[in-house]
Symmetry: C2
Subunit: 305 residues, 2 copies
DNA sequence: CTTGACAACCAAAACGTTTTGGTATAAGAT
DNA sequence: ATCTTATACCAAAACGTTTTGGTTGTCAAG
């Protein structure tokens, strides 16, 4: 039983049309009528039905975002902060944000289709772009509005925001090389993710520059989680000739790696150097504080939105 | 240009009514017609307009959740996991989840009002209940559907899910007392939060039971963040007679406290014991692993939803 | 034959907006 | 007196559903 335009119309003795137009400040409504309507609306606590507006306007004022997560429970600070950035920006622009989580695959794509066809969202935000990305291909083909955080391999004629993963990792690697490390281990991300490759290439570039060879046996494939990082680091540090430094593809894995190093009796920052990527809040509270690359995740979220 | 009922009606040569009723399996539609309609709908890729359905049904099939966060950027694993639980459950029930963040206060309450009046949501999920909670008072008074995670002081004739904070902290305290600690510091949560008090009372109960007196000078008020925990612990450990154990109200603050202890030269688990609450994934990867109370946050999220 | 019951169908209303395409009145121009 | 222009207003259509309250045949029972 919320207040409708009709209620106001009855009260002020005008038509629904006039009330609507008054509230939208059209200039074929007299000043007095406008004032009258405004006041009545105010007093009655009128708030337009968003559903009715959406139906009539043929848009939902809603932005969709499907988080690609394996396993239902996730708690990645990266996503929290990104969502916060997107969400606050969206709210400030009068847009709703519809978030769901779906493991990559057919179900994921179907979620996109469903949300589009049912008119639930006006556009999508894509995160964690993959080297060849079905989601982007689909949206691109159907001409549905979207913005991606990250690019895909080759194709990039679509709207995106991206960080320079390559350069970030290059700088980090140079830093380690500058400290005298020559045997550098690496925990990369899932190979299908575009930035995994970018970051790996950044490392290779740096190595190449100082004439070192990239050693594939020192590079493990991680899964971006803390537990994954722990396991990967355990393996690297148990080698006959363990690396003296480990570059992880993100902070979460780096923290897991630090944990493993500790467990195996290495003193981080002395026996072994470990670096991350993202600069999540947790990073500064590890022992010692994690060396990482700052990525303004919140701001990126806002920008993408 | 999505497919509408009318498109299907035209194709099968029946009325819109019949098509609608066929799709909903009403029994005043013949079997043949049903089959015909179903097939046509399938072939044409019909997906009903959720907006139109919502307008007609007078409900939004959307659950609202306003996260109370100070500062726009937050990254609390507690919230991520809770959202995941709620979100996945909601999705499996065909409900949308509308998340926003708002600092506690007038704007927050207004967000509730707006979302209700505009018909954007059918019900709310309330998190981090406060000892006296305006949100609950408002929803209760207006008779708007909601479920809270947590109770309020005194009043509890509303639907809620809650954990036994008191008992959890009691057990944790007993554990520390059993280890021989007699000087126990504490970093509590914001006093307006209901569980802060519950947890504090749990500690007091345990102390009382062994005949120790609760020392207010050893109890600081935290803000539930890692940085906050760091600062609080710094203060406690800089006392002339620092405590030999610190109980933090949640894991995030406990991790911050561990960080501070390290920094000040204490060896955690030896010179000082530190405990948390929640059992976030991060907890098992600290050095040493954090002693904490497990709370099945994801499952609670599902349950509340 | 009628009557009643039943099966299969559908036109129209409703949900609450916004927009379209008007009309009525008054004032000024011819 | 007639035409034009501007001002203030509004009925009706539209958005895409679901539901209400029918109507039309057909067939068996009386």
């Amino acid at each position: 039983m919320p207040i409708t335009l009709e209620d106001i119309a009855k009260r002020v003795g005008k038509s629904i049309t006039t009330v609507s137009r008054a509230l939208h400040d059209y200039d074929d409504v007299s000043a007095e009528t406008k004032a009258l309507v405004m006041q009545a609306a105010d007093e009655m606590g009128y708030i337009p039905s968003s559903t009715a507006q959406r139906l009539q306007k043929r848009r939902s004022d809603t932005i969709g975002m499907v988080l690609p997560t394996f396993g239902p429970r996730f708690s990645d600070p990266f996503f929290s902060e990104f969502i916060a950035g997107v969400g606050n920006k969206a709210a400030s622009m009068g847009q709703d944000l519809l978030v769901s989580t779906r493991p990559p695959g057919d179900l994921e794509l179907q979620t996109y289709r469903l949300n589009i066809q049912s008119g639930r969202v006006d556009g999508f935000i894509i995160v964690r772009t993959r080297r060849v990305d079905e989601r982007i291909k689909y949206l691109h083909e159907t001409n549905f509005p979207f913005v991606a955080f990250g690019r895909t391999e080759g194709l990039d004629d679509f709207p995106f925001v991206d960080e320079d993963s390559h350069h970030g990792m290059y700088l980090l690697s140079k830093h380690l090389l500058g400290l005298g490390h020559t045997r550098i281990g690496c925990i990369s991300g899932p190979p299908e993710l575009n930035f995994s490759n970018q970051r790996l290439e950044g490392i290779k570039s740096a190595l190449r520059e100082v004439g070192l060879e990239y050693d594939p046996t020192l590079c493990l494939q991680g899964d971006m989680t803390q537990s994954g990082g722990y396991i990967n680091a355990e393996e690297l540090l148990s080698l006959d000739q363990p690396p003296t430094a480990i570059i992880a593809c993100n902070d979460l894995m780096a923290l897991g790696a630090m944990s493993a190093a500790h467990k195996l009796g290495f003193i981080v920052g002395q026996d072994i150097s470990i670096t991350g990527f993202d600069d999540i809040p947790m990073a500064e509270h590890s022992h010692p504080p994690l060396t990482t690359v700052n990525q303004p995740i919140y701001d990126i979220g806002e920008m993408v939105c």
